[in-house]
Subunit: 342 residues, 2 copies
DNA sequence: TTGAAAGCGCTAACAC
DNA sequence: GTGTTAGCGCTTTCAA
C-alpha cells in the first residue's frame, strides 16, 4: 500500500491540511509540529503524489516538447539544452517527435494538451493554418524555436538566418572566390531554406557575382548534399566554392568531391551551416556557421517557465534572436587562380 | 472554463457515469444514449482530463526514460525508436538525461516515480548498489537497455558485445593483419568497455597475435580516439590495423592518422563500432559493427508495455540479445606487406 | 442498462 | 496555528 498524506497525518497526529502546509510551506506551522511531521515524512520516505497534486492545483508541472526528429543533432542538441536547464527545476519533459509531418504536429499539440502540460515548446520548420489554429486552441504558454509564428502572442527563439548566410557568403567572397555555388534547402521552408538562400543570393548580387545556374536544391541530408554536388559538377561551370544550407549537406558535398578526385579545399572551398559535431571531425574539418543550439533550448525553457509561473506578468515576452558565429576551419581557403575546378 | 464530464452529462441528459462508460467502452450502453453522448462530446470537442483519469485509475499512461546523453546518437537513436513505436499507443514519454552521473540516475528514478510513471526504461552503462536498490524500490516494471541488471526480475535488451568485438577482430585477422591495436573504452564499463575489449583480446590470443602494448584506453569520444591513436603511434610498434570501441573514437583515430600523413586504409586499417551516421559519411567511410539502435528501443518499449498491461502475465519477461552486423566499408583493406605503418 | 455516491490523494477556503 | 470540509475530474462499485 502506498503511503498517502492521510497516513502521514494519522501517524503525526495532525490533520492532512497541516501536512500539506509543511509540504508546501504554504502557511505558517508551529515549529514543533512541523518537526514532528517532517520526521514522519522522512521515516516513511513519503513523497506526495504529483498526479493528485496536479488535479487539485490544475497544474501538472509537465512541459511538452514537439520536435521533428529526435535523432538529428540539429534538434537533439536543442532538447539537451532544454533538459539540462529544466532538470534542476520542478518540471518534467514530455517529448514527442513528428517526422516533419504537419498533421502529426497538430495531433501532438492535442495529445499534450489532454495530458495537461503547463506549456509547450515547438521546434519546427513551418506550419499551416490548421497548425496555427491548434496553437491558439492550446490556450496555455507556447514558445517556438527556429520558425516564425503566425500569432505574435507566441514568442520565437531563433537566429538570423538571413544575416548568417550573408556573412558566410561574404566570407567566401572575401577569400577571393568569384564563382560560388549553393546547395540550398527547400524554399517553402522559410528559415533554413528561404532565408539562407536569400542571404547568399543578395550578397552575391551585391558583389555582382550571382549566377543562378550555380544553385541546386535538396533536403537537409548527406545524400542530398552528395547529389547536389554531382549536379553542380555536371553543369561544367566554373566554381571554386560552395555554400551549403547545412553541415550534413556540406559533408555530402565534400564526400562527392572527394570521390570525383576534386581536392577540398585546394580546388574547391566548402562552407556549411550549423556546426554540428561532424563539422570539426571531418577531414578536412568544415568551415561553417555556428548556431547556439543548446542556448536556444535553454532560453526557450527559461522564458516558458516564466510565462507559466506568471512572474513578470506585466512585461510581455518577445521573440529573441540569438547570435551566430562564423567558424573558419580547413575546408575553405583563399582563391588561387588555376587551382579551381571548372 | 474547461468542459468536464459533468458538463457533457448535463448536456446529454445522462449521468456522468454513463458518459464515462461510453468514453471507455467499459460497460454496455444503449445505442441511442451512446449516440447522443457521442454527439455532445463531439460538439464540445471534449477530451477527458488524463490527470483526473490517472488519479482515479492509479495509472498515468506515462513512461519514464532515463538516458545518459540526449545529444549522442548512440542514445538518441534508441529514444527515436522508442518514440516512434509508442506514438501510436496511448502512452507518453517522460525523458530525462543524467550526463552519466550515477547519483543523477538514482534521483531521476525517484522523480519519475513521484510523477507516477507506469514503467521505466533505463539506458545506462552500469550501476552501483544504491542504483539497483532504487530500481527495486521503484516497484513497477523496468527495462534496461545495454547493461546488465543486478536483479534478474529486470529484463535487459542488448547486443552481444563480446561476440561482436570478436567478429570484428577476426575480420581484421582474416584480412591478414598481424599487428592489430585497440583503442578501448574504460574497463569499469562492463559492456562497451570490458566486453568489447575481451572479445578483441581473446580473438587475438587465439590467433597468437595479442600484444598488450597495442592497447590504449579512452572515453568514447572523438578527442580520445584522436589521442589514443597518437599514443599508439608513439609506441613506434608495427601496426597495420586498429579496432576502436566506438565509431567516434575511430573517426578521431582516422583524423589523427590523416594529420600524421598516414593513409587510411592503405597504411592502416581502422574498424569502428556502432555504425552511427558519421561512419558512412566519413572519408574514407568506416567499416564497423552495426548495432540495431532503433530496434533496441522498439523492443524495449514493446516489452515494457506488455509488462505494464499485465498481458501474458503468466509468462515471464526475459532479456533479449539483438543481432549485430559487421559492415565492411572503405577503412579496412587486406594487409599488404610493406604498406603498413611501423 | 442506468444513476447515485464513494473515492483516487491532494490543496485551499473557511472556521475556530 | 490548526482542523474541517469541499472540491479537482474522473472511474467504479453498488443499487435500482
Amino acid at each position: 500500500m502506498k503511503t498517502t498524506i492521510n497516513e502521514i497525518a494519522r501517524q503525526a497526529g495532525v490533520s492532512k491540511a497541516t501536512v500539506s502546509r509543511v509540504l508546501n510551506d504554504s502557511k505558517p506551522v508551529s515549529e514543533d509540529i512541523r518537526k514532528r511531521v517532517l520526521e514522519v515524512i522522512e521515516s516513511n520516505n513519503f513523497k506526495p503524489s504529483s498526479v493528485a497534486r496536479s488535479l487539485s492545483m490544475r497544474k501538472s508541472h509537465l512541459i511538452g516538447i514537439i520536435i521533428p526528429d529526435l535523432s538529428n543533432p540539429v534538434f537533439s542538441r536543442i532538447i539537451a539544452g532544454i533538459e539540462s536547464y529544466i532538470r534542476n527545476l520542478d518540471y518534467s519533459l514530455l517529448i514527442t517527435a513528428t517526422d516533419f509531418d504537419i498533421d502529426m504536429k497538430i495531433q501532438h499539440i492535442q495529445i499534450l494538451k489532454d495530458k495537461g502540460v503547463d506549456g509547450l515548446i515547438l521546434v519546427t520548420d513551418h506550419g499551416n493554418d490548421a497548425f496555427f489554429q491548434a496553437m491558439i486552441d492550446f490556450k496555455k504558454p507556447i514558445i517556438m524555436i527556429g520558425s516564425d509564428s503566425a500569432a505574435d502572442s507566441i514568442p520565437v527563439v531563433k537566429i538570423d538566418n538571413y544575416k548568417a548566410a550573408s556573412e558566410a557568403t561574404q566570407y567566401l567572397v572575401d577569400l577571393g572566390h568569384k564563382h560560388i555555388g549553393m546547395i540550398r534547402g527547400p524554399l517553402d521552408d522559410p528559415q533554413s531554406g528561404l532565408e539562407r538562400f536569400h542571404g547568399y543570393r543578395d550578397t552575391l548580387k551585391k558583389a555582382g557575382l550571382y549566377d543562378e545556374n550555380l544553385v541546386v536544391e535538396g533536403w537537409y541530408s548527406f545524400d542530398d548534399g552528395f547529389e547536389g554536388m554531382e549536379q553542380l559538377l555536371n553543369t561544367k561551370r566554373e566554381m571554386s566554392a560552395v555554400f551549403c544550407a547545412c553541415d550534413l549537406m556540406a559533408v555530402g558535398a565534400m564526400k562527392c568531391a572527394h570521390e570525383k578526385g576534386i581536392d577540398v579545399p585546394k580546388q574547391l572551398s566548402v562552407m556549411g551551416f550549423d556546426d554540428v559535431d561532424i563539422a570539426r571531425m571531418y577531414s578536412p574539418s568544415l568551415s561553417t556557421v555556428r548556431q547556439p543550439f543548446e542556448e536556444k533550448g535553454r532560453l526557450s525553457i527559461m522564458t516558458l517557465v516564466k510565462m507559466i509561473e506568471g512572474k513578470d506578468a506585466n512585461l510581455s515576452f518577445q521573440s529573441e534572436i540569438l547570435p551566430h558565429q562564423i567558424i573558419v576551419r580547413d575546408s575553405t581557403v583563399k582563391y588561387t587562380k588555376g587551382a579551381h575546378k571548372k
